[in-house]
């Protein structure tokens, strides 16, 4: 499904067929979720953010100028949303898990027994370690490695989305991979 398909869907949505936007959601939901999940490492939160990114995109659709591919414009929204979300994130962690009563302090335990798809897939420790190490990558490297090695975008797509030149893309990918490889090697994973 090409950019032509995306444009057709966008035009249909802008013409009033809002339900057609579900085609965009279904086409990109995997990629968006993978990117967000790699950033947040929390299944539910990643799902919420994924939903919010699509809503924002739908609301902003009229501002799509078609100067770039739809996917490039859309992934830019995704990346910017995640950046802003990271900034605001602290303010959202508002569930008080500890409280005191006199001298004693209690902790409200919220066990998570859900058997979600993430848990079903991540059966091996290696993926858990990989996620930990991706989280520890410097932001520039983490972002570009997720786009390249997890989301599978091309160098050119990454260059357009991040608005950096191709050689810079390559340099960041090489350095990010080297960083990650060394970390995984030190933990006996590769």
């Amino acid at each position: 499904m090409s950019d032509t398909y995306d444009i057709q869907v966008v035009e249909s949505v802008l013409a009033g067929n809002t339900d057609d936007f579900s085609k965009i959601v279904e086409k990109y939901q995997d990629r968006v979720f993978r990117y967000v999940f790699a950033k947040l490492s929390n299944y539910d939160e990643a799902m919420d953010v994924t939903q919010e990114i699509f809503i924002m995109t739908l609301e902003a659709l009229a501002s799509f100028r078609r100067e770039s591919k739809f996917s490039t414009w859309f992934f830019s929204i995704m990346i910017n949303y995640c950046k802003n979300y990271h900034k605001k994130r602290g303010r959202f962690t508002s569930v008080p898990l500890t409280f005191s009563r006199g001298e004693e302090e209690y902790e409200l335990q919220i066990p998570d027994h859900r058997e979600n798809p993430e848990e079903r897939v991540i059966m091996h420790d290696s993926l858990r370690i990989l996620r930990e190490e991706i989280q520890r990558l410097p932001e520039d490297y983490r972002e570009i490695l997720v786009l390249r090695d997890i989301d599978g975008l091309s160098y050119n797509e990454i260059s357009d989305i991040l608005n950096i030149n191709l050689s810079n893309v390559k340099v960041r990918i090489h350095r990010g991979r080297e960083f990650l490889k060394n970390r995984l090697h030190s933990r006996g994973l590769v």
Binding site: T18, D19, F21, S22, V25, E26, Q29, D30, F33, R34, F37, Y43, D44, A46, M47, D48, T50, Q51, F54, I55, L58, E59, R91, F92, S94, V95, P96, R101, L108, I110, P111, H113, N116, P117, E118, V121, I122, S126, L127, L130, R131, I134, L145, D149, I150, D151, G152, Y155, K170, V171, I173, H174, R177, E178, L180, K181, L184, H185, L189, V190
Partner: protein
């Protein structure tokens, strides 16, 4: 290429198939002879392949597109209301003022006091438009999170939810003020939402009494909450 080790960047380019045919041949020749470079290439390939495994995560997207479109429509409706509410209020003011003056040729003097009072109220209404109550949005969020709504009052929306789902609900409620307590009572219709051990947690007043906190240790656990309007 055969005497010194292959730079990491070149190995990375090899993985991405970014080398020319000639460069690729030279690198592979060297890697075949050099144990260090071979080991490094295997480590790099292992790293990239592991990232690929992470891409295999499949989330449950059922209902996502429906939720996206539905939520966007709802927000658009709310925004439209917010946009047109002042205009509607102004129209009401004009119509009612017109009616008062038109009807008042003979009773004008008698109605002057009423008109002034009307204008005063209308001016206040224009200057301080009532904020849009987001109770519908709150109820939508509660429903999306499978919470049981037990009461809707002028002050709050009250409900119950399992402990496991509460954290997510709290996040969805964003900056709204929420008070809650934990209990091991299963949600049931007709159960008083305010048991004796209801506790104020995470609120700045007005919710429950300061009874000793009840901490469920066995059985199922639920959270009772109030989202203030």
């Amino acid at each position: 290429m055969t005497t010194s080790h292959v730079p990491f960047e070149t190995l990375s380019d090899l993985i991405d198939d970014e080398l020319s045919a000639r460069e690729k041949e030279l690198v592979l020749l060297h890697v075949n002879e050099c144990a260090d470079c071979r080991a490094e290439l295997l480590r790099l390939r292992g790293t990239v392949e592991l990232c690929g495994d992470l891409a295999a995560i499949r989330a449950d997207f059922s209902g996502l597109s429906r939720r996206v479109v539905g939520r966007a429509r709802f927000r658009r409706t709310v925004r439209s209301f917010v946009r047109f509410a002042p205009a509607a209020a102004a129209a009401v003011v004009l119509i009612s003022s017109y009616a008062i003056f038109y009807d008042g040729s003979e009773q004008q003097e008698a109605d002057t006091a009423v008109t002034r009072e009307q204008e005063r109220i209308e001016n206040v209404a224009i200057e301080t438009p009532r904020p849009v109550d987001d109770v519908e949005e709150v109820i939508g969020i509660l429903r999306d999170n499978n919470a049981t709504i037990t009461n809707v009052s002028d002050l709050y929306v009250e409900g119950k939810i399992s402990v496991e789902q509460f954290e997510r609900l709290r996040r969805h409620l964003g900056f709204r003020q929420v008070a809650f307590s934990v209990t091991n009572e299963a949600p049931a219709q007709g159960v008083n939402i305010m048991p004796s051990y209801m506790e104020e947690v995470g609120s700045d007043g007005g919710f429950g009494q300061t009874a000793p906190i009840y901490r469920a240790t066995t059985g199922e656990r639920y959270v009772r909450f109030r989202v203030f309007r």
